[in-house]
């Protein structure tokens, strides 16, 4: 076997410079690892939903009116999805793609039969018919809302 020096000599004129930019990409992936994992999970759920529903990426593209290339980009696992896109995908596929930790926490609380009753029935505004027959709007202070809690 050649020494490394001999081998490199033989390779002269045969080696091309690496233009694939894999090192830069590797650094970028390490720096963005957190949200990339979320994107990968969404991509995986989309693919598994399509598989279960026997749909193609092209079918999904048609349903939500985007190009098949766009759907294919999404399922690679490095798309920084907008909430609007997530919502469209969830509706089209009938699945939840992004359950927030808060949502999961609320679900757990509800499952422990922790009940909260909000006494105030008014939303932000309340219409009151004035004596003159006109209409005026009174904004309610959120602090006026009364809250009681029951456990059971």
């Amino acid at each position: 076997m050649d020494t490394k020096k001999q081998a490199l000599e033989k390779l002269k004129g045969h080696i091309k410079p690496d233009t694939s930019k894999w090192k830069e990409d590797a650094r970028w992936r390490r720096a963005n690892k957190g949200w990339l994992r979320k994107s990968q999970k969404i991509a995986f759920d989309i693919l598994q939903a399509l598989r279960a529903q026997k749909k193609t990426q092209r079918d999904l593209a048609r349903e939500i009116n985007v190009s098949p290339q766009q759907v294919n980009k999404w399922v690679k696992g490095r798309e920084n999805f907008t909430l609007e896109t997530i919502d469209r995908l969830e509706k089209a596929l009938g699945i939840t793609l992004m359950a927030s930790s808060h949502h999961v926490h609320i679900q757990q609380l509800l499952s422990h039969s922790f009940k909260t009753n909000y006494k105030s029935v008014s939303p932000v505004k309340e219409k009151i018919q004035s004596a003159e027959g006109g209409t005026r709007v009174i904004r309610l202070n959120p602090q006026e809302f009364t809250t009681t809690q029951q456990t059971g």
Partner: protein
């Protein structure tokens, strides 16, 4: 399958060929596959039988497709980082950094020997990621391809058998440019 170039992945340490029809060299192509959710989901669904075989059940229990996909992405990232680090450590000299840590000789066409070697690493060495390469000098390797290997022998599956063919193609190409003994076939896997 024709080679259209040899590229320096890590200068003076790790080279990779590019085949006709492919947009990038094999090192970049393989790792791109190993982080593509689309590719991995399809691969593990296709090879679900191998993934959930007795072989893996004994080692790790029943592996779901999701677990396989995400552990592959994580392992590939570590693998890529480790190779880069190890190759760069030894690029200035003849120090066998890659060989000592992650390169395992693959005796050509000798699947029984390969099987023995795999078993010799013990049941905990269960990464299925493989890069295939030819050693042309101490700490100087040419990558011919890579695969997710779920079965004991390369010949067991079409996609791994193809990797054997690619090793031979690269060996022939290297012989044409003066490496008469370019037959030190091997595979690179995650070191410990």
């Amino acid at each position: 399958m024709k080679i259209i170039g040899i590229f320096a992945v890590v200068e003076n340490a790790l080279l990779a060929v590019q085949y006709e029809g492919e947009p990038v060299h094999e090192f970049a192509r393989i790792f791109k596959q190993w982080r593509s959710v689309e590719y991995l989901e399809e691969f593990f669904e296709t090879h679900r039988g191998d993934l959930q075989s007795e072989h893996y059940r004994k080692k790790k229990g029943l592996i779901t497709i999701a677990e396989a996909v995400f552990s592959t992405i994580d392992e590939a990232e570590d693998f890529e980082y480790q190779i880069k680090e190890v190759a760069e450590t030894g690029k200035e000299n003849d120090e066998e950094t890659l060989h000592d840590l992650i390169f395992h000789p693959l005796h050509k066409n000798d699947s029984s020997k390969l099987h023995q070697q795999n078993k010799a690493y013990g049941p905990d060495r269960s990464s299925w990621l493989r890069l295939y390469a030819i050693r042309i000098a101490p700490n100087l390797y040419v990558i011919s391809g890579g695969a997710i290997k779920l079965t004991p022998k390369l010949q067991d599956r079409e996609h791994t058998n193809l990797e054997l063919k690619k090793l031979k193609i690269v060996a022939e190409h290297l012989k044409e440019i003066g490496f008469d003994q370019a037959d030190d076939y091997g595979f690179i896997e995650i070191g410990e």
